[in-house]
Structure formats: structure tokens, C-alpha cells
């Protein structure tokens, strides 16, 4: 559906108003280029981003993308020349390639806010409370989660580091995460091909098997293959994740409750999985900070898996504010992305949290378009 020129103007007016209020809340205005080098985005999101971003080429600079989000360039700019603590606000178009010819949002305005500050729970609460306050007249439905608790639970499993790393790597891909967990917990049998390989590795070295399989072509070396074979042998000898621990993780994946009840539930399981205690205490501190800012934490919905599929670089607090119509995307979304600043920061890192608002949806809900 095409927006009329006057609708676009109305949306920009809504965006301006939101942006002005973010600046009034103490944020420094920042701008980023629309043409972004593709490299950092591909590194971060992998090949999937090509399906979701407009890719183009610069004769000198190589592959470029039309800005699919602000977070990456804002983080890069901050890590390059920002001083901390810092609060930034921005407003501008993002571009999302769409496969569906009827899709609406190929380019749309975003208004965003990012905090780089080491006082973590306070900053989480600040972003959420600020957005809730800005959008209060729209009576949006909040949803929150905390990827950090899930990650802490994985790190706390009594199993090999390799298994933990595999699970952490796929924490944002629920289907593969679940398949890995089922296998590591002994709920799914290894593939017949895997069993056959392990069998052959009992009598032959990996080098002999590689030799027998045919000439090796390509860059993946015999050492790479032998290294993985050794990892498979080690994994086969690793006992399944204890049923009680696996059950706790499955329970955590499906935990969905009002925040205070969720906190009580998590405290109840913490003695069985002590590694999640610091993450639970951060959750508790965040709820205190939210309460101090007037958020009703008795009723604030919490889902341990919230944001696992759509908000991929988040590794702590995550939230969305959505309209009643389930067909509409979230009006606002955001979260904590501490690992991203380390990834893009070339050595440096700083805790960071932020979020974006989609002015078009605000305008629509206000009846301005």
C-alpha cells in the first residue's frame, strides 16, 4: 500500500514530535549515513541480511547496503569518538527489502534512542519508562523478556564448553537451539551417519578416513576435519545433560508470567541452577528501577523467550510495545546489546541499551493518517 504525500508529511510531523521529546529527555542528536558498508552488517547478521536489506555496489568502496537499522552505525560512531556515558537520539529512514509484493514497509521512518552507560538496570528502566511515557496515550500492550537469563542458564549447564558454545551460538534460532538441546539431553538420537562415522573412528584415525574418502579439495584443511572429528569423539563421550537441568531449561524457554510472579518462579529454580542467580538479581534490580519510575511491575508481562526470533543482537533486557491489532508490527521495540559493542568496538566495549519507535504506526493509531 502506498502512502500519500500528505500521509508522509503527517508521519514526519509525528516523528519530529517524538524526536524533540527524546532530545528534551537529554539525548544528543546524531545522524548516520544511509549508505552503509555491507561488511560489518554481513559479519553481524550473516547471509540472512541480504534477503532483508537492499544491497548495492559502490565502484570504489565495494558492496554497500541501504541502512537497515541505526543501531550498528550509532554504536560504531560511539565506539570511534563518543565519550561515556552518552545518550543519543536519531530520526531517519530505514530500508527493508521485502519478498512479498504487497508488503508495506520497504522504507519507513524510525525514531530511536540509545544509552551507553555502565549503570545497567537503571538504563534499561530509563529506556522502557521513557518509551512507555511517550506512547502512553496509545494504550499499547507491553511485553518484556531477558535473553541474559537464558544465556546464563546455558552457561551454567554441567556439560562441555563445546556444547554450551553451540547452544549459545544458536540462542536466536529457536528451532536449531531446540534440536541441539534435544540431542545434548539425550532426547534425540544422533543421525545414522554420525553413528557410522564414530564407529569408523574407533579403528581408524581421522587422517586415514580423509585419505580413503578421496582427494581433498578446497581450503578446509585436514587439520580442520581432524579437529572436528576429535570434537565429535569428545562429544560422544560426554554424558547427556542431566534430566533435571534439561527440564529446567525447557521450563525456562516457556516461562511466561507477570514480572513479579516470573521473578518468584526464577528464584524458586535458582537453587537447582545457581549460575542464573546473578542474572536473576539483575532482573530484580531492573524491576526495582522500573517500579521507581512508575511502571507497574505486578502486571508487566515477562516471557523468558521474548525477542528470540526478531531482535537478534540483544543479550539482556528486551521489550516491545504493540497495538491490539496482532497484524501490525510492534510500535516500539528495544533492548540491551552489550556484546554488540564489544563486537563492533575493536577491543573496547560498553554496556548499551536502546530502542526504536515507528512513527507511521503512531500516526495510524492516533488517527493522523
Amino acid at each position: 500500500m502506498m502512502l500519500s504525500a500528505s500521509d508522509r508529511a503527517a508521519i514526519r510531523a509525528v516523528a519530529d514530535e517524538l524526536y524533540t521529546r527524546l532530545l528534551a529527555a537529554g539525548a544528543v542528536p546524531v545522524e548516520t549515513e544511509i549508505l552503509q558498508p555491507a561488511g560489518p552488517l554481513l559479519d553481524l547478521y550473516g547471509e540472512d541480511i541480504r534477503a532483508r536489506a537492499y544491497v548495492t555496489a559502490d565502484p570504489g568502496l565495494g558492496e554497500m547496503m541501504l541502512r537497515p537499522d541505526f543501531t550498528v552505525p550509532v554504536v560504531e560512531a560511539h565506539m570511534r569518538d563518543g565519550a561515556e556515558p552518552a545518550r543519543y537520539a536519531y530520526m531517519g529512514e530505514v530500508f527493508r527489502r521485502q519478498e512479498d509484493p504487497d508488503a508495506r514497509a520497504r522504507e519507513y521512518l524510525q525514531v530511536g534512542f540509545e544509552i551507553f552507560d555502565r549503570a545497567a538496570p537503571e538504563a534499561d528502566a530509563e529506556v522502557f519508562a521513557l518509551f512507555s511515557d511517550l506512547l502512553a496515550p496509545l494504550n499499547l500492550r507491553p511485553a518484556t523478556g531477558d535473553i541474559g537469563i537464558l544465556m546464563a542458564a546455558v552457561r551454567g549447564l554441567s556439560t562441555s564448553d563445546r556444547r554450551k558454545a553451540a547452544l549459545l551460538r544458536h540462542i536466536w534460532r529457536p528451532k536449531r537451539f531446540r534440536a541441539l538441546l534435544d540431542r545434548f539431553a539425550g532426547r534425540a538420537a544422533p543421525s545414522p551417519a554420525r553413528a557410522a562415522l564414530l564407529d569408523r573412528l574407533k579403528s581408524d584415525t581421522p587422517e586415514a578416513l580423509i585419505e580413503a574418502a578421496g582427494p581433498l579439495v578446497g581450503l578446509r584443511s585436514p587439520e580442520d576435519i581432524a579437529g572436528r572429528a576429535a570434537a565429535l569423539i569428545e562429544d560422544a563421550a560426554t554424558p547427556p545433560i542431566a534430566a533435571t537441568e534439561a527440564a529446567l531449561l525447557y521450563d525456562l524457554l516457556t516461562l511466561q508470567a507477570p514480572s513479579l510472579a516470573a521473578l518468584a518462579h526464577l528464584r524458586g529454580i535458582a537453587p537447582m541452577l545457581p549460575a542464573i542467580t546473578p542474572a536473576i538479581e539483575r532482573f530484580a534490580a531492573r524491576l526495582e528501577a522500573l517500579k521507581a519510575r512508575g511502571v507497574n511491575v505486578e502486571t508487566l508481562p515477562f516471557e523468558a523467550s521474548h525477542g528470540r526470533t526478531t531482535l537478534e543482537y540483544y543479550d539482556g533486557f528486551v521489550f516491545t510495545l504493540a497495538a491490539a491489532d496482532p497484524g501490525l508490527p510492534a510500535v516500539a521495540s528495544g533492548g540491551r546489546y552489550d556484546a554488540l559493542t564489544a563486537h563492533l568496538g575493536q577491543g573496547g566495549s560498553i554496556p548499551a541499551v536502546g530502542g526504536i519507535i515507528r512513527p507511521e504506526l503512531v500516526a495510524r493509531l492516533k488517527g493522523a493518517i
Binding site: 550473516g46 519478498e99 528451532k175 536449531r176 551417519a193 562415522l197 580423509i210 579437529g227 572429528a229 570434537a231
Partner: protein, 234 residues
């Protein structure tokens, strides 16, 4: 006129001519042997358009031809949301080929997508870049790997001789069309059993965006009768 696009050369053209011929509609190239024009006899109001099989999806999407014969792999790969743009009216039973993922035979540790994903992760850590998969079927391969949760790979474009890219060190694995697997074996590659992305065959497609005025619809009805097919939904 109802325009039908068919492949302009090779076995795909011959088999298409045979298929229509067996149903009483004779197709033939006209003029000089190198000229791309053709004729269809046995029905009125139909014009034959000779095209490269790779361009038929685009022509269908644009509605410049009403019907077209091409590989189901090409339609799925070249058209976004292909079902909204074309209807697959009838698979024709020839031009069979599988789009598969293939890796070096010596990768004894890689047999499943789970293995491919783990190998890609270790490869990236070891070599500093993502495991490269050479293909010309970007959309199909990416959708397949995303749906199966494979990460840490990069697609590199290869428009031909894809099986050679691994030996030439421009890719670590490939995704390509194969019918017998012979070229893969000759290049020391093996098919990943879980890596079957699409089973392709030549298919008669209908363009939803073409001009379906009463004349063309009437011709389509007559054609459907001659071919012994049910009318497709436009």
C-alpha cells in the same frame, strides 16, 4: 493472441516440442536455424515465443507472455513470492534435476545440515571468514539454509562451472543442479543427504499478470481441452 514462451534451444526445447506434439500441437522453429522464431500448429490464436529458459520467469512475471515452459527451480529462484505471480499449471515430466548442497568427499565429518553448520562455525573461527558456498540459486539456497538454522556461511555467485570453485579455492562448498551426480564426483564432491533443496522439472506456468481478456481466456480454454488439462486458476 495468447503467447506461449518456450526454451529456444537444446534438449529442453526438443522435449517441450515432443510434449506438445504428443498432444496434437506441433511446434517448430521457423526460418534460418539460428533464428529464434517459431510456429505452433493445431490451434488458433496461439503465438510461439522462443526465449532463453532463464528469461522465461521474468517474462511470465511481467505478463509479456501468457504461458511459459521452464524449470521449476528457475521460477522459484528468480521470482520473489512466485506463487503470487505465476501458477504452476502442469509439470511436464522431463528436465529433472535436483538442486543439492555438495561438499568435498574428504569431509568425512560432514553428512548432515547440523554438521555443515558446525563445520562452518569452526571454519570461521579458524580462517577468519565465513564458509563460502558457490551457487547461482541465491534465493532458494538462502531460504533453505535459513529455514534449517545454518549460520556462518556466505554465498558467492557462480554462474557456471560451479563444481570447480572448490578446487579453485573460491568456495568451500557448492549448491548446484545435478541429475546424475557425475560432475560432482569427478570434482571430488559429495552430495549432502539432507541438502536436497528442490527437485526441479520442466513445468508449464501461467502468468497471472498477463492480459486475460475474454479472447485469451477462450483460447486458454481451447488449449486446456487439447492438452487434456483442467483449467488453471488465474
Amino acid at each position: 493472441m495468447l503467447k506461449i514462451g518456450v526454451p529456444s534451444k537444446g534438449r529442453l526445447m526438443e522435449k517441450t516440442f515432443d510434449w506438445f506434439g504428443a498432444r496434437g500441437l506441433s511446434m517448430a522453429k521457423t526460418g534460418n536455424e539460428r533464428e529464434y522464431s517459431g510456429r505452433i500448429d493445431g490451434i488458433d490464436g496461439v503465438e510461439l515465443v522462443m526465449l532463453s529458459a532463464g528469461e522465461i520467469p521474468r517474462e511470465l512475471a511481467a505478463g509479456r507472455i501468457h504461458l511459459g515452459v521452464t524449470g521449476s527451480d528457475l521460477v522459484r529462484d528468480k521470482l520473489a513470492a512466485w506463487r503470487a505471480q505465476v501458477a504452476d499449471w502442469q509439470p511436464l515430466g522431463f528436465g529433472h534435476a535436483d538442486l543439492v548442497i555438495a561438499v568435498p568427499q574428504a569431509w568425512v565429518d560432514v553428512d548432515t545440515l547440523d554438521d555443515l553448520d558446525a563445520a562452518a562455525s569452526a571454519f570461521r573461527a579458524q580462517h577468519g571468514f565465513r564458509l563460502r558456498i558457490a551457487t547461482k540459486y541465491h534465493r532458494l539456497v538462502r531460504e533453505f539454509l535459513t529455514a534449517n538454522g545454518v549460520a556462518d556461511y556466505a554465498l558467492v555467485d557462480s554462474q557456471g562451472a560451479t563444481e570447480g570453485t572448490v578446487k579453485n579455492l573460491t568456495a568451500e562448498a557448492i549448491a548446484d543442479i545435478t541429475s546424475s551426480g557425475e560432475t560432482l564426483r569427478a570434482n571430488h564432491l559429495k552430495i549432502l543427504p539432507e541438502g536436497l533443496i528442490h527437485q526441479s522439472q520442466a513445468t508449464l506456468f501461467l502468468a497471472r499478470n498477463a492480459d486475460w481478456a475474454p479472447d485469451q481466456t477462450a483460447t486458454l480454454t481451447a488449449l486446456a481441452t487439447r492438452l487434456g488439462l483442467l483449467m488453471p486458476g488465474i
